[in-house]
Amino acid sequence: MSRTPGRWVVSQNRNERVALSAIREDIEFYITLRHPGGCGSLRRFFSCLSSRGLLVLEVQRLMRHYNALRRQIGWTPRTLALKLLLLLGRIMAITLAKSDISETSTLDGGVYLSDHGYLIVGPRRLGRGSLIHQRVTIGAKAGGGPIKPVIGENVWIGPDCIIYGQIEIGDGATILPGTVLSMNVPAHAVAAGNPATIIAREFDNAALRQSLRTDIDRAQFASPCIRSGT
């Protein structure tokens, strides 16, 4: 199951090493989500190749790496080839996944973006182990300056969410499907609704993050007083 690090190309360039290790973590995370029981290397290869979420994610990572490289060494055949490759990758990401990930956003290694696409995502930072499901918009507030949200680690963001403005989402938070969020969310809290409210605190979303299921509703977070009354 585990892939030995030596099989990957070890580069002398630090930026390249960072980009490659992030890509490796993404693939590991994607495989554990997609095939929880484990799978063979051939199946693993083809499921990575056919994943549109991984395509979008890796194009963004390589784009960041390319920008740093070009600033460092200028135009060489290598940067030119990478530029052409990324242009093709970006066209594929737009046409296949209908997704656009901002080049300026910092994504930690080991995040999952939905294979169903329709993501317009540009957080300032997205933490390790976060999941973003389909049709999610994350960005700056219209007319409110260029400041974008910061998303912590192990955050679960359901489908059809909109997250905008100068906000911070704490580690381990859960954003239920269909939320329109423009306020801070503390760590391990659950936000839901349009406009959003915090409906629960200290919720452990580990079970949610280990599968790709999205069938969670705010009815599952009925307030404790109602539950004790019945």
Binding site: I94, T95, K98, S99, D100, G117, Y118, I120, R135, T137, A142, G143, D160, I162, Y164, G178, V180, N194, P195
Partner: protein, 192 residues
């Protein structure tokens, strides 16, 4: 009825950010903004409808109609922007992001803006909404029923409009409610 040339110019000016409309600026705006490409294809289709009513224009339809059908299919398939010919869209229309935009069976005034995942009007409904001039519709918003949206209204991201909206109102929530009136949305509209 606005002349075709002015309509196209107004569409481009939404993306030029106050720069002059030179060939270079227009090309870079067209390559970068998938929404602008979709709007241009829609305008081309409207022009074909105009040409259909004039006998001397019929030879132009022979290459024009297949070209439009192919271009519209590419826009729908690649970007997911569905601008149907049943919608009447005024000049200066801007689609902010690609992905899941559906505009059908409705009337939109001049200088409107829609975001991604926005649904304005429905293909199935008999009557569609009537949207005034300079309306800003945020991402994931839905304006589906036969409602009237006043000039300069702002529909926040994620809102669902179910009843008539007065001019210059700010609508949020699902179902949508007017939180305040007299909001000037020129600060969030792209410069034109």
């Amino acid at each position: 009825m606005h002349p075709f040339r002015d309509v196209i110019r107004a569409d481009f000016e939404r993306w030029l950010d106050g720069r002059p409309m030179t060939a270079r600026n227009s090309c870079s705006a067209l390559l970068r903004n998938q929404g602008l490409q979709a709007v241009l294809v829609y305008r081309f289709g409207r022009q074909l409808v105009w040409a259909k009513r004039r006998l001397w224009c019929w030879p132009l339809l022979v290459p024009g109609v297949p070209l439009y059908l192919i271009a519209a299919a590419v826009i729908r398939g690649c970007y997911g922007i569905h601008l149907f010919q049943s919608a009447q869209i005024g000049p200066g229309f801007s689609v902010q992001h690609f992905g899941g935009v559906e505009v059908a069976n409705c009337r939109l005034g001049e200088g409107c803006t829609v975001g991604q995942q926005t649904k304005v009007g429905s293909k199935m409904a008999a009557e569609g909404p009537e949207v005034g001039d300079g309306v800003w519709i945020g991402g994931h918003a839905k304006v589906l029923g036969p409602v009237r949206v006043g000039d300069g209204a702002t529909i926040a991201p994620g809102a669902r409009v179910t009843k008539a909206i007065p001019a210059r109102a700010f609508v949020v929530g699902d179902p949508g409610r007017v939180v305040f009136r007299g909001y000037d949305n020129r600060q969030i509209q792209p410069k034109s």
